[in-house]
């Protein structure tokens, strides 16, 4: 079974600064997808960024980028120029690329990010 670990329960960043959120995962598969979701106080899960394991290039979405290290099974999220609206809980998630019964999202426990003005 796949597991996702987010070892930091909380982090804080100064507005306009850069912060990196860590995530590691464990899997025996070679094909999979990794995601970062954001959950603001409204509680709706919002997709921030996704990474296909077969792609060597790290995904980027505006101020959000990832550092994907497949051999180390590490998938960190970097938020540049942090804004007050970035304050939320962030979840790392894994999904097998094999379509089938196990093709569901497996989440880490999440990290609460606060942004200081």
């Amino acid at each position: 079974a796949q597991t996702v670990t987010q070892s930091q329960p909380e982090m804080s960043v100064q507005e306009a600064e850069t912060v990196t959120l860590s995530c590691t995962y464990d899997t025996s598969e070679s094909d999979y997808y990794l995601f970062w979701y954001k959950q603001p106080p409204s509680r709706q899960m919002i997709l921030v960024i996704r990474q296909e394991a077969y792609k060597q290039q790290n995904a980027t979405e505006n101020r959000f980028s990832v550092n994907f290290q497949k051999a180390a099974k590490s998938f960190s999220l970097k938020i540049s120029d942090s804004q007050l609206g970035d304050a939320a809980m962030y979840f790392c998630a894994y999904r097998s690329a094999h379509t089938g019964a196990n093709s569901k999202l497996t989440f880490g426990k999440g990290i609460t990010l606060s942004v200081r003005p």
């Binding site: 997808y33 979701y37 409204s42 509680r43 709706q44 899960m45 919002i46 997709l47 996704r50 296909e52 979840f91 999904r95 097998s96 690329a97 094999h98 379509t99 089938g100 019964a101 196990n102 093709s103 569901k104 999202l105 497996t106 989440f107 880490g108 426990k109 999440g110």
Partner: protein, 114 residues
């Protein structure tokens, strides 16, 4: 285009009662997922439906059940409610059961059991 919609937003039930939560996926999506987010426990996978069939089930007792209707909407039923069932229940949908499709979430239904 409307996103994943869930109802009710909040529900308060008494221990032993039954609760029914509803979800409408994004138009055109056939796969629906249910997750439970209890305080301190993260997101736990409950159920996955696609094309009207249950595709996978998480590690929950049988009193958690659901179904998917021909229009792909879904409902989650929780029987014999227990206090620890109090949680946010998130519904999500994807285009179909192909693993490459992005999964989109609704705003959730808060269930409080007293």
């Amino acid at each position: 285009e409307a996103g994943v919609t869930q109802s009710p937003t909040h529900l308060i039930k008494t221990r032993g009662q039954q609760a029914t939560l509803r979800c409408s996926p994004i138009s055109g999506h056939t796969s629906v997922y249910w997750y439970q987010q209890a305080l301190g426990l993260g997101l736990q996978f409950l159920l996955w439906y696609d094309e009207g069939e249950e595709r996978n089930r998480g590690n929950f007792p049988p009193r958690f059940s659901g179904r998917q209707f021909p229009n792909y909407s879904s409902e989650l039923n929780v029987n014999a409610l227990e206090l620890e069932d109090s949680a946010l229940y998130l519904c999500a949908s994807s285009l179909n059961r192909e693993s490459g499709n992005t999964i989109y979430f609704g705003e959730g239904s808060w269930l409080t059991v007293v």
